[in-house]
Every structure is written in C-alpha cells, then in structure tokens.
C-alpha cells in the first residue's frame, strides 16, 4: 500500500515538474506576471498586514510600490522568526524570482537573513532595524531604520497640553533601548509643556499580547492617566480600550485615527513608502543599494498623523513650532541636566544627544518623571 502511494506520488512529481516546464507560459498561473516584471521585490511581515501597527506600516510602504513600472511585489504575513522565515525567503527567490527582499521584523536578521545572504549572494536583503555593520556583515545585506523618538516627543507635546490630570500612560512591550527612548521622549515632550507631568509605563513583556495590553491600558487609566500612548506591534487594542474609557490617545507605527476619531490626538508614524521607493529606484537604475540607511522627520522616514479634533490651539502652535525646529536638524530630546528616575545623571549640564547619537542606541534608563522600572 505504501509502495503504491509512493509510486503515485512520484508520478505526480513528474507531472508537476513537466507542468512547470511547459506550463509557465500559459496564462493559468499568475507566476507569469511575477516573472515578466523587471524585478520582483519580496516583503515579509511577522504579523498581519492590517494590524494598525508595525506590520501595517510596512505593508502600506509595500503597497505604495505597486504602481511602479517594472516592479512586482510579493508579500507574506504572519511569518515567525524561525526556520520558516528562511524558507519563505528561499521560496520568494526560487519560486517568485525575487531579487530584493525586505524581511521587516527585527528578529529576522540574525541568524535567518544572514544565512540567506550567504546562500544567495546575488540577491539583495535589506532589514528593518539598523543592525548592519560593514565589518561583520556581507555586502548583499543591509539595514534601514528611522528615528521615531522625535515623533514620540511631538506626541508628548500634544499630550502635555491635553492632559488635565498631569498623568500620562505608556503601554510598552519590552524594556529595550528602542522602546525606552520612545517612553523617555514622550515624557520629555510633555514636560516641555509642564514640568510637573509624569508618565507611568507598563511593560507587557511581549510584542503582541492583546489581553495584557488591554489590562495595562485599563490599569493606567485607573491610576489617573488621561492620555495614553504605546509601543507594541499593534496599537489597536490600546487605542480602542483607552477610547472606550474616555482617555485621549497618541498613536504609534501607523495612523490609528479611524479607530477613535474623536479621541485620537496625533501619532508617530513610519513613512516606509519613502524608504522603499528609494531602494526600488536604485534597483531600477541598476545602482548599488545603500547598506545602511537611516533618517528621521526631516528625511521623511517618519511622519506625524494629522492633528485630531480634540487638539487645542496652544497645543497646535507648540506642535508646529517644535516640528519646524526638528526639521532644521540638530534637535535633541535627551539633553542635560537630566537624571534617570533612579537618580543617576544621564546627561550633564550642556550635554545634548542629537537623534543620531550612538549613545541613544544602548539606552537602559527611564528619565525622571517616568513612573516604572526597566527590570
């Protein structure tokens, strides 16, 4: 019985191999469209494409390329950071003919993307997160990232004007440098309005954990917070929970205003469309792709959601002024004198860290005024 099964399977293999040889030209498969394009670009997401957050921001960037002449896009969502993502990359290369791949989740880089870089030296890989280092990593790898902390500072400015309780809330995933910088920026933005404002942070421990995110949001509001923001993969739960409780929201990753139009103040969004267009233009022009790309508000890597109806005149003014200041370059969120919430000096009088400062990338503290602990 098993033998017979094997035989028929082998036959099927043969037929499908023959089918692949002869059938490519036939219009039956969309594969033809994929092959006909000058270049195929693959996008891989760790969560759903419509998560109102991290993945949606990337998917919107990918979608913006769909009209570009000669480029065809292939996408795969919900790909875990395991051997699965390696096989997905291989499959995009082998079956779709992808020549440029964007694995967008931080955990895809090491070891998964690096393994594929070694295996397919002719394919270009660009990873979101900023890990690439020319001494350690191959030239067909690279990374891009944006300075979104500035966006959280602007969120804080609007939140500072809006709060009545002088208490803000922050739902955060993990106490890692990228997240801590956002928490600190949010509070410091608010303190530029009123130095008495505090911000309580709750870490959920995971990038996507809806139940805990809802609990954390409720807990923050129970303790008096009336403006809430977050840094989790999908802010949807936080936004809806907070709006349901009557609190105001500052968004993150993507525009969440459709979820709570009345309560949404503004939000720090990625503008990946700009970044992906840049890479694809280079690809079409036959130029080598940059290996290390970063930018902030001024470079168009990051943008702000349009201000919501609840934002007052004073807030609008300071928001515009601060944004204009940032667009000029050289703006520092972390500047002395500044202490951590444990009392340690993190910046002395006169010391200032601009958004590109390398010190910010190993941030391990919460600034004074943030209620919470990194461990």
């Amino acid at each position: 019985m098993t033998g017979k099964f094997m035989l028929s399977r082998r036959d099927l293999l043969k037929t499908s191999a023959a089918g692949a040889a002869f059938g490519l030209a036939s219009a039956a498969f969309p594969i033809r469209a994929a092959r006909a394009a000058a270049a195929t670009v693959g996008f891989i997401y760790v969560g759903p494409k419509d998560d109102y957050g991290y993945n949606q921001a990337h998917a919107e960037g990918a979608a913006s390329l769909k009209g570009v002449e000669g480029i065809s896009i292939v996408e795969e969502e919900n790909v875990p950071e395991t051997v699965d993502v390696q096989k997905t990359m291989e499959s995009m290369i082998n079956l779709d003919g992808a020549s440029l791949i964007f694995p967008t989740s931080f955990g895809y880089f090491d070891p998964h993307m690096l393994a594929m870089c070694a295996k397919f030296p002719d394919v270009q890989f660009r990873h979101c997160g900023g890990m690439w280092n020319k001494d350690k990593h191959p030239m067909n790898a690279g990374s891009y990232f944006g300075y979104i902390g500035m966006g959280q500072y602007l969120n804080g400015v609007v939140a500072g004007h809006t709060t009545k309780s002088k208490k803000l809330g922050f739902v955060a995933a993990k106490p890692i440098p990228q997240v801590l910088l956002n928490v600190n920026s949010f509070l410091l933005g608010a303190r530029s309005v009123d130095p008495a404002i505090t911000c309580q942070v709750i870490f959920t421990g995971e990038w996507s954990l809806a139940v805990k995110e809802a609990e954390a949001t409720n807990a923050l509001i129970d303790q008096g917070a009336d403006v809430v923001t977050c840094h989790v993969d999908s802010p949807k739960v936080v936004v809806e929970t907070a709006a349901g409780r009557g609190a105001f929201i500052c968004g993150y990753h993507a525009n969440q205003s459709p979820l709570a139009p009345e309560k949404y103040l503004t939000g720090a969004e990625w503008n990946w469309a700009k970044v992906y267009k840049m890479f694809v233009d280079d690809l079409i022009a036959g130029k080598p792709l940059p290996n290390f790309t970063r930018g902030g508000l001024a470079d168009g890597f990051v943008k702000m959601s349009p201000l919501g109806p609840a934002v007052g005149e004073a807030a609008r003014k300071q928001f515009d002024a601060t944004l204009a200041e940032m667009m000029k370059g050289g703006f520092s969120v972390i500047k002395g004198p500044l202490k951590s919430n444990k009392g340690a000096v993190v910046a002395t009088e006169g010391q200032a860290f601009v958004e590109t400062a390398i010190e910010l990338e190993s941030m391990d503290y919460l600034v004074e005024g943030v209620v919470g602990s990194t461990a």
Binding site: F29, K49, E77, E90, S91
Partner: protein, 374 residues
C-alpha cells in the same frame, strides 16, 4: 482501538484460507487508512466551498498548494523542515494521551529545553563539540521532562487537571524564559532583541547531507519510531494502554500507575525539550523569544490528527509542514490572507475528529459481519 483485534500473520493466512482470508486481512487494516483519507478529502471539499465563497478558484488553490508544499525538491525540503519540529512536539501530546491524559502545554517544555541547551552550550564553551551537543540534548530533554513530568505527578498524586496545569505551566515557562534571557543569561550585546550568548559554530547542529533540512528531522522520526515500539511492543507500553483504558482496572491488576504516568509525561516532555534544544542548536543559535513560535500548540493538532499513534505522526507532521509551506505561496500568488491555511487546518481538524465516530461502523471493514450476512 486498532490494538484490540489480533489476527494471524500473513503466511498462515495465505496457506490456510487463501483469497478470502487475505481479503479479510486487508479489510481489518484498511479502516485505519480509508477513514482518515476520506476525512481528508471531505475536509478539502468543504474548504473548496469556502474558497468558492470568497470568489477564488479551488483548483488553482490546490494546484498552488501542491506546488508550494510538495511540487519540487525545494518545496519538499521546505515542508520537511517545517514539519521536523512538529514531530517531537506532537509526541509530547501523543504519549500522555495513551494514558488518557490530555497535555497541551508542550510549548513550555520546548522553550525551557531551548534555554537549558543554550545555557549548557555557553557554559561549556571550549569543550569537545560531540560532548557539548550531547549534553545540550540531554539538558534540553531533562528540562522539558521535569516540566511535563511535574504535570503528570500533579495529576496522579494531587488530582490536578493535567490539561489546565500544563497550559498554565506553559505560560510560566515562557515568562521564565523571558526572565532568564532578559536577565541572568542575557548577552549584553543583544540590545534590542534580548538573547543568550550565541553558540560557537562547532556546537551547532547542521543539515542532513544532501538536504537543506537539519538533523532534527531524523531525531524526530527516530523518536516517533521508538515511541511506537515503546507503546506497542513493550510491557510498559502495554501497561500504559491498560491504564489509559481504565485506571481503576490497571490499579486492581497491580500496575504501578503513578510511576507510569510520571514516566510517560516526563518522556513526553523530554521529547519537547529536545525539540527546543534542536531549535537553538540547529536554527536560532541562541535562546530568545523566538523559541515560543507555537510548535507546542501545532503539535496538539498533529497528535490528534494522528490519533496519538506515533507512527502516524510522521506523515501528519509532514502534511501540516506542507500546508504551512504552501500557505506562503497562496498568499503571494492568490492574494489570500494567511488565515486561509488556518481555516483549512481547522476544517481538517474538525472533520477528522468527527470521522472518529465512524470507526467500527462499516461492515466493509469487519469480516466478522460479512459471515453473518452471507
């Protein structure tokens, strides 16, 4: 179920009663193949209706699935490497199930096995690779074994429901892993993705020669075969089946039910822990949050589809690996969301569970009834 009928071996049948007897011999065994295959077909037909309802072509869908899962050597390897961790994960469910226990917390044993293996690999840096890999495997298996063994002990000695306790302990295990990986075992260089120190290359488990699938596949298949032998061919397996059928009867017979339960659950957890070790040593290179990838939960599905038969786990795991592998191609070619393959898995699961009720119902598979009717 399949073990209740004992029949004479092939040679005597052919000598003594010829054609009719051979037919009977086949009929008795055919049930175990025909019913699940029919269920698979029914599930696929139902899923076709679903695909039609969303306005896509089921023919193109199955063609794409075949292409993505099994249509080429690359696709086959893709399916095998996705199926490999499911083998051990499914054993963590199937072994206790033979004792009548529903353990669904294999994920916890996997992540702790991975963390233990990573800790051992880093601590013994410099020692011979053979020894370190062996100890990593043993350490991973021990961590997972203790974790699920505790579930078995709680069940037997304190009457704590094993389904709930294993699930809750999985949450604890994941929290423990996060604590260890973000705290005491953290590599200070892993800033934005807390991980343990990376394993040295010589302690990594490589690929099977000629394939791009790591050795975990072989380990998993061996574990399934050994588990089958244990259950079907040894007195412990026999005792486990008795206890699984009726605990009181087993106790009356004087079987040591307590040690049996703890032993089987510990072995099951050990397999899951080994899966975690392989994930660290063959794929990730360090322990981190990516270890909790859901293999433990997919393993539940595999074990139930295989009706807790360790040998049946092998094709089922590879089938699910194939469905998973083709899911990507379906997304890319047909513009369907990732949830599509989850719907297919769900439909197959329900139909196959439903098909369980048909065992023993068909005269065709029961030669004793043939005689009665003639």
């Amino acid at each position: 179920m399949a073990d209740t009928v004992s029949s004479p071996d092939v040679r005597t049948i052919l000598d003594a009663r010829g054609y009719r007897a051979a037919l009977e011999w086949i009929a008795r065994r055919a049930e175990a193949f025909v019913i699940p295959l029919a269920a698979l077909v029914v599930g696929m037909v139902l899923f076709s209706l679903f695909i039609l309802a969303v306005g896509k072509s089921p023919v193109q869908l199955y063609e794409t699935m075949w292409r993505g899962g099994f249509g080429s050597w690359f696709s086959i390897q893709n399916s095998l490497s996705r199926g490999a961790p499911l083998l051990l994960a499914a054993l963590c469910v199937a072994l206790p199930a033979r004792l009548g226990l529903v353990v669904i917390g294999g994920e916890g044993a996997i992540v702790l096995g991975g963390v233990a293996a990573a800790a051992i690999g880093v601590a013994l840096n410099g020692a011979p690779s053979f020894l370190v890999i062996l100890l990593m495997g043993a350490g991973g298996a021990a961590a997972g074994g203790i974790w699920i063994g505790v579930v078995g002990a709680l069940r037997h000695y304190r009457a704590v429901n094993e389904t709930i306790s294993s699930l809750l302990m999985a949450y604890i295990a994941i929290a423990l892993m996060n604590h260890l990986v973000e705290g005491p075992l953290r590599d200070p260089a892993s800033l934005n993705k807390p991980s343990t120190q990376p394993l040295a290359d010589i302690y990594r488990v490589g690929n099977i020669p000629g394939m791009e699938v790591h050795w975990g596949l072989v380990v998993g298949i061996l574990a399934c075969v050994l588990s089958w032998l244990l259950i079907e061919k040894t007195r412990w397996g026999f005792a486990a089946r008795i206890a699984g059928g009726n605990v009181r009867a087993a106790q009356v017979q004087g079987l040591a039910v307590g040690p049996l339960i703890v032993g089987f659950t510990a072995l099951a957890g050990g397999f899951a822990g080994l899966a975690g070790m392989l994930e660290v040593a063959a794929v990730q290179g360090s322990a981190n949050g990516s270890l909790a990838a859901g293999y433990g939960y997919t393993g539940i599905l595999v074990a139930f589809l295989a009706r807790h038969n360790p040998l049946a786990i092998i094709p089922v795991a590879i089938l699910l690996g194939g469905i998973d592998a083709s899911g990507g191609l379906i997304q890319r070619r047909m513009d369907l969301p990732d949830a599509t393959v989850l719907v297919l898995q769900g439909m197959l699961f329900i139909v196959i569970l439903f098909s369980e009720t048909f065992y023993g119902r068909f005269k065709l598979f029961n030669p004793d009834l043939w005689q009665r009717s003639t």
